[in-house]
């Protein structure tokens, strides 16, 4: 059975179409990333799955249940981390985790959960006195306090330092090991590449591509690049004739070869045969960032920086 099923979701606010037509299926136990620039419709999609928004058209199912009609059931098994929502400002970390724990029939031990997100030292601190990163950790703890079968995590590690980020990532990996389904909205390609089994690319309210991170990169049809340094006067015709090479660029001592197939091996062999001494040779694969750009046709960072 599908953990999350979104079919032809359409949502507009007044004249603004937030989500045009989004369909998405997530199997139980899967971690699926949702990538897209600001305003692409990611958060609205998540809010529709969480039951915070009623779709104008289309259907949403969580473990086969309608988040509105079966509210009470869905809420027990769905953990949600919302972007930017506050909590009772004068309550402490421990009080908030305890409060949210009491809403669920079953759930995590509050103290262990607080420890897992690294907030043990701040358990007596009021929400309003927490730093942004600490609030983010608390928000993750509250999403998981009911031991959800499905977790929606919107901007999971925004505001966290690299160490905390890696710590939270390993928590998500533990969730996977426990069979929890995760839908992860993210801007961080590294996060998505590391955690997600599949990635859905949303652009202008539509799903542009769904694939594994590796598959997406492959689907973008991006060439590999081999870079190396060679003595001045390097003759590019040495590499031009290789079957898999599509281009050679020489800039001073820096040579960049683009192509596909066993590019690195073919280039190295050809260089050895030609007696060229190449140093600092490295293969650059396309990243998810590159794939994003290629598949949506516009730079990713522009609107997010």
């Amino acid at each position: 059975m599908l953990a999350i099923e979104v079919r032809n979701l359409h949502k507009r606010y007044g004249q603004v179409v937030a989500v045009d037509d989004v369909s998405l299926s997530v199997d139980e136990g899967e971690i699926v990333g949702v990538l897209g620039r600001n305003g692409a419709g990611k958060t609205t999609t998540v809010e529709a799955i969480a039951g915070l928004r009623r779709p104008d058209r289309g259907t949403v199912r969580v473990l086969g249940l309608d988040p509105h009609r079966d509210r009470a059931r869905v809420r027990q098994v769905l953990g949600v981390q919302l972007q930017s929502s506050a909590l009772h400002s004068a309550l402490t970390v421990r009080e908030l985790v305890g409060l949210y724990r009491s809403f669920y029939a079953t759930g995590a031990d509050p103290d262990k959960l607080i420890e897992a997100v690294g907030l043990t030292g701040s358990r007596g601190t009021r929400f309003e006195k927490l730093s942004g990163g600490q609030q983010q950790r608390l928000s993750i703890a509250l999403a998981l306090v009911g031991n959800p079968r499905v977790a929606l995590l919107d901007e999971l590690t925004t505001g966290l330092d690299p160490e905390a980020r890696r710590h939270i990532w390993s928590m998500v990996e533990d969730l996977r090991a426990g069979g929890v389904t995760v839908l992860l909205v993210s801007h961080l390609m590294e996060e998505v590449e590391r955690l997600c089994d599949r990635v859905a690319l949303i652009d202008q309210g539509r799903v542009v591509a769904v694939d594994t991170p590796v598959g997406l990169i492959a689907a973008a049809g991006l060439a590999q690049r081999v870079r190396f340094r060679a003595a001045r006067g390097f003759d590019p015709t040495v590499l031009d004739r290789l079957p898999d090479v599509t281009g050679v660029e020489v800039a001073g001592e820096q040579v960049t070869v683009t192509g596909d197939g066993e590019l690195l091996h073919n280039v190295s062999t050809a260089l050895v045969h030609a007696g060229v001494v190449a140093t600092e040779t490295r293969l650059e694969r396309a990243t998810l960032d590159d794939a994003f750009l290629a598949l949506t046709g516009r730079p990713f960072a522009q609107e997010n920086s």
Partner: protein
Amino acid sequence: MTSQTDIAVHRPGPRAWLNLIRAETKMVVRDTAGLLIPIGLPLLILVMNGLGASTQELPGLDGLTAFDVYVIPIVIAIVVATIGVVNMPSFLAYYRRTGVLRRLAVTPAHPAMVLAAQVVTSIVQTTVGIVIALTVAMLAFDANPPRNPGMALAVVVLAALAMYAVGILIAAVAPTGNAAVAIGLVLFFGMGATGGMFGPVVNLPDAVARVGEVLPFGAVTAAVGDAWAGQTPESLHLISLVAAIVLSSLGAARFFRWE
């Protein structure tokens, strides 16, 4: 559509309610400034009037003084109004504005539980505020207990409901917590000024006094005063309070948004 029988329906139980009420209480108690007004302001008014000359027995009231039938009702009205009209809406509007209600909406707890917990907390605060004020009144100023305690209690309960209903209406229409405080304070002082908070209503222009009398603050002071004197409150005042409850609740139900 497949039906999911393995997921049991579970609604938050008594522990969740208790935790939420405790949470709301902590929010109120830890907000020192917010707690000062409903406890401090009535005491101030009480002491100022108590030190004045209003402790003479009034004719025909069986030993009751002006302090008993005018000052105590005003003090009770202040407690009920500051909590209901100023404090409660500021919390609720703040919760909505900052996303507290939204966050609760994705848990098994319904945001309406917060509303209910706020009302419970407000009842506790009101009780504490009134008990403190009455204790001071009796110990320091020899105030007399109400001649008709049952009636007085019933009127106070009605008064609290009316003020809470107005407060929830304010929370429904105010966009932010600050706006809610502003609207609440304007309403509180407006109703208070026309309802006798700053001096006897006989000193007010007749038309103003007429309006003030049917607004919740004036209606509360008049009805509590009557109950203290052992008389049945005038139906005009009781009807005003009931009208405030009904109209405000309808308005709140129409305009209240969870986010």
